[in-house]
Symmetry: C2
Subunit: 648 residues, 2 copies
């Protein structure tokens, strides 16, 4: 049964300011470091010996006839530029920057020149295999790249009001629409890597052109039907594979094994999966499609309660970068692609918009503060593609089954999907922090920031001041109200057992709904809300079926997962045991890792009684202090061991 | 410093009878089941849909001109037949069987016909690439196959006195000797897969022809020198690889990264390594080469005290079937190839012959009762190539990083090295049970059996009656003595803390040396020795550096490692916890798995307090009885989970 819903909307990014705190710091780092660094990377201007060249912009120049040369990079290299452009759009939405905009406009000019007369846009096929367009949807990312550029175009239009890239992409979408769909003479294809579906829904939100919704819905509805389009396509092109690994047929890899409404468990490539779930949720909301909504909810339950690491990481297999099966989550061989956790955030936001439950934002917050932030170094120039929960560097370097696990963050990647994906997420963080439900404003994420809202014809501003996630108290100043009645919704995080809310220092009447505390009252200029969450350190345990964590616990405080790192605790982290009844000494250390809580706890260190590898003498123990730092901040001091699930 | 040594010799296989007990049962199973089954397999007479054909004998027929067709199978397919023939020889040494001998002789006739006029013998090159002989020692196993056939020839000659195969192989060895070595005009090559070195030492023991020793020693001494022979060979043949995986250069894979005397840690392919260590030990003993002896001892220490599973399994990486680095021993992704543990037995025996210490036989026994016997099903027709210490079947089937781990024993393998290797080891078990040191007989392994010895001109027989390894008492009857003075050596297993020895029911004077109890007395016909070992169930712990086993223990009783299996304990074995102070209820169950000890212990079963994957409520516990069976006997009832290292 669907509950009666208010109309919910994400915050308008333009109206949100990130003013400080951890999220503000990461936001600023993206603007100051990541976007400029990635610009250089995309232009191959970073001259460090071991870094893979990108060639992404050069590919567009060649396709545009501005340069001569060969296509280089992955078949989906275009998407790196698209994600960078999208990040730039989010930056420009809030922070005008003429130089940056000029750069972006110049790139957009090149992109427009690279568009073919019929609207086609893809540098790989244009430069390298112009006669092979649309012959390998399964492996070759044409629709995926189109989707990313479409997202960039929508974002750029929203940020700047300029239509050039949007018009380019609408022309391309029109071409795609003439080629694919249920109509006569069209191919019944759909993307091998989902992405364009959700991009079309973003386009539709601007254009309100039914054609755009219909194309998205078609891609969702067609997927997984039998006979397999991918198989037919493969036969038609003479059984040739672009990637040798695709020679082994596996429709589950790209979630094409079943019609999407029949999919109960997440399988296959994790990023493909969550991008698809996003689009399913978008389409379900827009068309009020109950079976599709139910499919989304079922998949959500499977992903978040059966296949998600405590860090919000998903996809436990390096092979195929994929989901495997329920409760299969090795900590040391996790894949947990940064992009997959980013996709989970996109999806969580949509599930929240659909159902209004705060629990979706709980997962969003969990992924953001842990599995996503871990993807980027303190200085914004090094990245993890893979986010394990246990690392022994020697083992990553020498064991073949951990070859995907890097013990230190990397500068860039031949497959450079994660860094620009981080940039576009973090640059648009503001829109995840606030929302509007009906007439009232709402807060989903806590952190120093402000947001403006149109409420009953007035501009109301909410200003947050807090040291969240290091402390549980949040001050919210309401500005612009004058006897203005509205309901303010504030999310009570799922991890929170006790909380308190004061208005102007006094207790007040509240209601609670779907995980939100609601202050429905008449507001005055300068009203001040104080929200406080009890935020004890908690030891988390796994379900028994998650055997990798048997006998172990993970420290969590608020939304942040903590870990042991060699820099604080020495080697052999699995020889450390946390005492079950230890007090926790929490200290905010401004000087440490840009400011984090450091948690000290009591425990034991085991040591072997002899040099013999096996003995019937139990290991000796001695008291030891265990020092925990936030998981996301690991590997910013020195290469070394790291461990989230500690013996208890 | 070398201690003064008695001359030690293995028992003469012909003089040993396996009369019962666990080892006798396995011996009989090899004769009754394995050898006949493998004969059918080698002849492709087993018609089971999913079984890989062998074609091994057909390849010889084709090479011999008796059949027409193509070569099929691995480049080392010849060795499967060689190992089978060797096993047959061991059977014939003890148990005449005219039909079997006729079969073997017919096969030997074919082999002889397959030999080329110059002495060359290898069906792959003869049939498929006759002009490519000796162009790819690194990858293509010519010397390896020669080694196995040479071992078979020596064994067959020793068993039957017949020289036909021996003469074939001596001709081939002579050819090899003209091609490789330090002499002018010879190639400075050595095997890519070590094996012929130890086979040459076995040949030398018969021929006493210095040339055979010199060739073995040359292969040992030449290995790992720079510039790399393998690299030169690769250049010479136009940089072509037989196996694509070899395109990545890695001299450590076949222990050619350093001269053998400089090798301190075991690296690379585990079977190659231990076969090489065998030959190093043989050559060191024969030539009294102290630096080589020291290298052997150093490698022994590294393998057995840094890289060996408690089951005697070695080689923890599926990739390259290889050693990795110290203390890197995941239980669920172990490779632990059956052949590698067999090779470890071969090596342990040689280390014992060299140094006379019982601790080498401790490892031999550990590998035999655990990592080797686990390779074969109860009925002798199913085999594990890979021997993990923790299995969750779904995970093996669905996780790519466990694709080498089969949750059930297989019928045969495309690379069928392990089954015939098991056959040749188990068929020759007798020679490992007894030894002669100087004038006196010795017992290394306990089990129902007898062995004859020549002592001071008399034939003395030792007859063991025991229920070892299920109980610790061994009765030894001495026959054929008449006031005969000799020292009887009996190994006190390294795991044994308390033991007692009686002669004719009375305490007697003993001495102890290198792990042996010595009864040096004048023996009479019918003297009866009763040896008893205290054999409690012991909980073994790992060195702290072996982090995979942190917080866990393994049950061992005598030489046998025990495990939990789903058939006895249900699913989710990691939710079971062994109480540290539990009493152990040991019961010999004649009806269970051909007769094994079943151990019951007290423990707890954890269960999650909710359906939520992560919770701050610690798992609940309830009392549970834990039921252990011998590790080697797992997976003889139903597919299911198995676990050696249990939480304590």
């Amino acid at each position: 049964m669907e509950k009666k819903n208010l109309n919910r909307n994400m915050a308008d990014l333009k109206k949100v300011r990130m003013t400080g705190g951890l999220l503000g710091l990461k936001y600023t780092s993206v603007l100051n470091n990541v976007i400029p660094y990635q610009w250089k990377a995309l232009n191959d201007e970073i001259d460090e010996g071991d870094m893979e060249p990108s060639h992404a912009i050069e590919n567009f120049r060649i396709a545009a006839g501005l340069s001569r040369g060969e296509f280089h990079g992955m078949v989906f290299q275009d998407s790196d530029l698209a994600k960078w452009l999208e990040a730039v759009a989010y930056q420009l939405a809030v922070t005008p920057d003429d130089n940056l905009k000029k750069r972006a406009d110049e790139v957009i000019d090149i992109i427009a020149l690279a568009q073919q007369p019929d609207g086609y846009l893809n540098t790989y096929y244009t430069v390298k295999e112009p006669d092979k367009r649309w012959t390998n949807l399964r492996e070759c990312h044409e629709l995926y790249c189109a989707g990313h550029m479409l997202e960039a175009a929508v974002a750029y239009y929203r940020a700047t009001g300029e239509r050039k890239l949007l018009d380019v992409m609408i022309r391309f979408v029109n071409l795609i629409d003439t080629l694919f769909g249920p109509g006569e003479g069209k191919k019944r294809g759909y993307p091998g890597h989902q992405e364009i579906e959700l991009a079309l829904m973003r386009l539709y939100a601007i254009t309100n052109d039914r054609k755009h919704l219909d194309l998205a819905k078609y891609f969702i509805d067609e997927r997984g039907k039998r006979p397999s389009y991918f198989e037919k396509e493969w036969e038609d092109r003479g059984r040739i594979n672009h990637w040798s690994v695709f020679a082994k047929w596996d429709d589950a890899y790209n979630q094409a094994h079943l019609p999407v409404r029949e999919q109960k468990a997440a399988v296959g490539h994790a990023v493909r999966a969550v991008y698809m779930y996003c689009a399913m949720t978008d389409v379900a909301m827009e068309t009020n499609d109950d079976p599709l909504k139910e499919a989304c909810r079922g998949l959500w339950e499977n992903v978040t309660n059966r296949q998600m690491y405590i860090t919000g990481g998903i996809g436990s297999s390096g092979y195929q970068e994929a989901f495997t099966f329920d409760y299969d989550m090795p900590n040391d061989r996790a894949y947990n692609e940064t992009c997959a956790s980013i996709g989970l955030i996109f999806w969580a936001q949509r599930m929240f918009l659909m159902d209004g439950e705060s629990r979706y934002i709980d997962v969003l917050e969990q992924a953001l503060y842990n599995g996503v932030l871990s993807g980027m170094s303190q200085d914004g120039t090094r990245f993890f593609y893979v986010n394990p929960l246990e690392v022994k560097p020697e083992s990553c370097l020498r064991r073949h089954d951990k070859e995907h696990v890097k013990p230190v963050r990397q500068k860039w990647f031949a497959c450079a999907c994660c860094p620009p994906n981080l940039a576009r997420l973090l640059a648009s963080l503001g829109q995840y922090m606030y929302f509007q439900a009906g007439d009232g404003p709402g807060i989903n994420l806590y952190g120093d920031s402000s947001s403006r809202f149109e409420i009953r014809g007035r501009e109301i501003t909410l200003e947050q001041k807090t040291n969240y996630p290091w402390e549980g108290s949040v001050g919210i100043q309401v500005k612009g109200a004058a006897e203005t009645p509205f309901a303010l919704r504030m999310r009570i995080p799922g991890w929170c057992r006790e909380w308190n809310v004061l208005v102007n220092g006094k207790a007040c009447e509240t209601t609670r709904e779907r995980g939100y505390v609601i202050l429905d009252r008449i507001w005055q200029e300068g009203d001040r809300v104080e929200l406080s969450f009890a935020m004890p350190v908690r030891v988390m345990y796994s379900a028994t079926k998650l055997q990798e964590n048997a006998g172990r616990g993970a420290l969590v405080m608020g939304p942040v997962v903590y870990c042991l790192e060699e820099a604080d605790n020495g080697k052999d982290l699995s020889s450390l045991i946390l005492k079950r009844e230890t007090p926790f000494d929490v200290e905010f250390r401004k000087d440490l890792l840009d400011g984090v809580n450091r948690i000290r706890a009591q425990g034991l260190r085991e040591s072997s009684p002899s040099e013999t590898i096996y003995t019937d003498r139990a290991p000796g123990t001695e008291p030891a202090e265990l020092i925990f730092i936030p998981y996301y901040a690991w590997n910013n001091r020195a290469e070394g061991e790291m461990l989230v699930w500690v013996r208890v």
